[in-house]
Amino acid sequence: MQEIYSSTVPLLAVMVSLAAVPLIILSSRKPNLREFWTIAASVAKFGLVLSLLPGALQGRVASIRLFEIVPNVQLALKADAFGVFFALVASCLWIFTSFYSIGYVRGLDEHKQTRYFSYFAVCLSATIGIAFSANLVTFILFYEILTIATYPLIIHKETKVAIHAGRKYLAYTLTAGVFLIAAAAWTFQLNGNLDFVSGGLFQGHTLTAGTIVPLFFLFLIGVGVKASIMPLHSWLPTAMAAPTPVSALLHAVAVVKSGVFGVVRVVAFVFGPVLMRQFGLNIILMVFAGFTILVGSLLALKQDNLKRRLAYSTIAHLSYIVLGAGLVGSTALIGGMLHIAFHATMKITLFFCAGAIYVNLNRENISDLNGIGKVMPWTMGAFAVGSIGLSGIPPVNGFISKWYLGAGAIESGYVIFLVVLVLSGILNAAYFFPIVHRAFFRRGQGLKDHHEASPFLVVPLVLTAVLSVAFGIYPDLFFKFFKLTSRVAAGIFGGVL
């Protein structure tokens, strides 16, 4: 079914942005050259990941084993279909974010831009490393590097608020890290093998509930913090103190998606469907996810700060993906995985819009956004597209993933979660559409002499909005996301490839 071949491409894909870091630092006095390295690395990374796509679609898995990192566990990368899927999303959106970042930091004349671009590159290396990790120790390695590399970006502004946000972020994510280490060490003692296996790595072991349930909670806390499952979520809104491109890429794509990626890895590749159902772990997961979806959406309603509203919306949408994993069914899992990609394109659009508004008009509260659609039509148009998508209305891609999640809920026999999804859609509309309404249909003040933001900002956000619509009409466009996720689900639940 799967053919594994040795290849250095996954390693190169991880390393290419890390290799750019010294170049970025060395050219710190020549901003244009420095930004060239960022762009070059992002394009190279995307190209490398893309080159793995055809193989992944045919079940050919590129893998590389470097050396033994701890006895019996290799430092190993494996570009399986799920890994390639996530890496594609992250590396593709990094290109957009790179251009956007240039416009953003120059537009605001930010300090320490070299540090900013360096750590951004490190974060992307770590994210691709997470995507391609072949076992738990490798996963933890990159997961912790991501934690540390994100920290300087969150405190970038170095205000009191930002430093406080950084502390909170570290407190949450480092705690999660030690839970994950404990979980991995325990798994190692039980199993002796930490390689991710489609359908679970405990196959052939008889384990009692007294072992499995605590172990599952260790894992759940370990990956749940970055996935911001309630009540582990509160770092995320605070981390919005970071510059907007950081919020956009890291808090809508790389960091939080690494968290939900981890949730899916844990559910489908560590425990597997059989154990999940046998010990009722799926119920635990679904309850947390359902709670987070509803409460996250409700909390989003009352935020006036645009980025904070987006943050709570992100929390809710991440749990769509967790729910997709928790329903433990092929269709639901496809929906969840698709939502990793589709939520990313939509949410990054919205964050880009928030950043463009901030750079251009220096406004960040929703109540100040009256009438800005007239001066920034492209930006607010893209914002409208993202809002429609996140509410789950066709033809934007959010509809597709939600459709599969809903179908999956029925298939697995938990119709209640279909209700949760519908409710959440209504809440999404309730907290996004008023913004669009304000922007286009209310009279604004102090907007004379203001125009659309710089093309560096507007072009990326329009492109991501267009992508969102394109994926909504044809999900297999460019990247064959649908085929990829179907293959992952087939590997886990069995079935025809």
Binding site: V70, V178, A185
Partner: protein, 500 residues
């Protein structure tokens, strides 16, 4: 019988240097440092050679003067002692390179020669303790290392003599307890050779005298190891000693006590005795767990960086003690690996503290600001690497210590100890990120004002200080990534009988 004399060489090199330094430096004071450096370089080289020989050919026994035990004194170079010696001598050599400049600055001119002589004697003691196969000989070396340490500490700041005096009292008590234990054991078994005593004890079982002897010896060595609650001498000693002294004793000094306990528990009294007959390992594990938490919490409250590192050492010694106390393969591997790992981390961080002192004149955390990053970019980078290792972020060495110790706790189903290890890395994060924040970030408004006052210029330390610091930082990453080679190649072989 031909003997390989290289085995006995390392303590003798240091002993010889300790005698030669005062002799040659009477006339030419400048010679003290090169002689010390040369001695430690050759000892480091010999220890690496010995380690390779032991790994190839197995344990080497060296009989002084050709007298066979139990009459003569025996040196035993098994994988454990060969590994320890290699760690000690190599770290000492790199630290000594760094010492050159800072000793001249911090220690009065007329005391430099005796200082180096004492350092050599201290290292003689350390080497001897690790290599000897004789219980009384271990006491002798213990006293050599302690007596020289008193001098090394006392030469520091104004409060250093008091700190040294406290250590003198505690250390003497420790030595006394140990000797008393050895005495009991000698009366009972009639032998002082470790292997011989081990053989006799294995046929005897749980006699009260043996239990008392074991308790006294562990108590004595526990003071040397600064295991909670016998640690009270350590913070002052590390803080007020000159930077060069704290840099050499922090990575090495207390490990010797830990080694002594490991050796006596598992190689003299035996696994069964210390875990089942008289489960002293349980006591050690609990005390170590307390040390881990106590040290970390105290470290948070410190403003002086060296004092913070001292409390952090108390906590890290707890890791080693906990590994010993778990008394299972992963625990012992974790403990022995942590001797190396903590040696690298603490050496790196104490050298950083020394670099701050020599350039800023202090190492007070509250007075650090973000100009430091500009002034000393490499030193601050080394600090970050050391700090991340202490927190246990992969791929630094700290993560792997944690990994093996976690496996050890899970194997014993000691969930409470697993929790302690994990909580402690979070506590480490609190007190290290406190410093990182100080060095790297500052609210914008304050910075603009500060920059107008004094624009920061580059003032990195001299290469002879910078390179050792960076070597340790690089080693933290390299030994982390390559730890499996060490563990599989060496540490699988250090496991005591009964655990293999």
């Amino acid at each position: 019988m031909m003997q390989n004399n290289a085995v006995a060489l390392t303590p003798l090199i240091f002993l010889f240097a300790g005698i030669v330094i005062p002799l040659v430096a009477i006339k030419i004071r400048r010679l003290a440092y090169p002689v010390a450096l040369l001695a430690s370089l050759s000892a480091a080289a010999v220890s690496v050679y010995n380690l390779a020989a032991v790994l190839k050919a197995g344990t080497i026994n060296y009989f002084f003067g050709g007298w066979l035990p139990p009459i003569g004194i025996e040196y035993v170079l098994d994988p454990l002692s060969a590994f320890m010696i290699t760690v000690i001598n190599n770290i000492a050599f790199i630290v000594l390179i760094h010492s050159g400049k800072i000793v001249e600055k911090e220690i009065p001119k007329h005391r430099i020669v005796p200082y180096y002589a004492l350092v050599m004697l201290f290292l003689t003691g350390c080497n001897g303790i690790v290599m000897t196969g004789d219980l009384f000989n271990l006491y002798v070396f213990l006293e050599i290392s302690s007596l020289s340490l008193y001098g090394i500490i006392a030469v520091g700041e104004k409060k250093a003599p008091v700190a040294a005096f406290r250590y003198l009292i505690m250390g003497t008590l420790g030595g006394g307890f140990y000797l008393l234990g050895v005495g009991f054991l000698y009366i009972f078994t009639g032998s002082l050779n470790m292997a011989d005593v081990a053989g006799i004890l294995s046929s005897l079982g749980a006699q009260p005298v043996v239990i008392v002897a074991l308790s006294l010896m562990v108590l004595g060595l526990g003071i040397k190891m600064a295991i909670f609650p016998l640690h009270s001498w350590l913070p002052d000693a590390y803080t007020y000693a000159p930077s060069a002294s704290s840099s050499i004793m922090a990575p090495i000094g207390v490990k010797i006590g830990a080694y002594g306990i490991l050796r006596i528990l598992f190689f003299v009294f035996g696994l069964k005795f210390v875990t089942q007959v008289f489960p002293i390992t349980q006591v050690i594990a609990w005390l170590s767990a307390a040390a881990i938490i106590y040290g970390s919490i105290m470290a948070m409250a410190q403003d002086e960086m060296k004092r913070m590192l001292a409390y952090s050492s108390i906590s890290q010694i707890g890791y080693i003690g906990l590994g010993i106390g778990l008394a299972n393969p992963f625990g012992i591997i974790g403990a022995v690996l942590h001797v190396l790992n903590h040696g690298l981390m603490k050496a790196c961080l104490f050298l950083v503290a020394g670099n701050f002192r020599i350039k800023l004149g202090h190492s007070k955390i509250s007075e650090f600001d973000d100009t430091l990053r500009k002034k000393m970019p490499w030193t601050t980078t080394a600090f970050v690497v050391g700090a991340l290792a202490m927190i246990g972020i992969p791929p630094t060495v700290g993560f792997f210590s944690k990994w093996y110790l976690a496996l050890g706790t899970i194997q014993n189903k000691s969930w409470h100890f697993l929790a302690v290890i994990l909580v402690s890395s979070l506590l480490n994060a609190v007190y290290f990120f406190r410093v990182i924040e100080k060095i790297f970030f500052k609210p914008l408004a304050e910075r603009k004002k500060a920059q107008e006052d004094s624009p920061p210029g580059r003032m990195e330390v001299a290469l002879s200080m910078l390179v050792p610091t960076l070597v340790f930082a690089a080693a933290i990453l390299a030994f982390g990534l390559l730890n499996t080679i060490l563990v599989k190649g060496i540490l699988y072989k250090v496991l005591p009988p009964g655990l293999l």
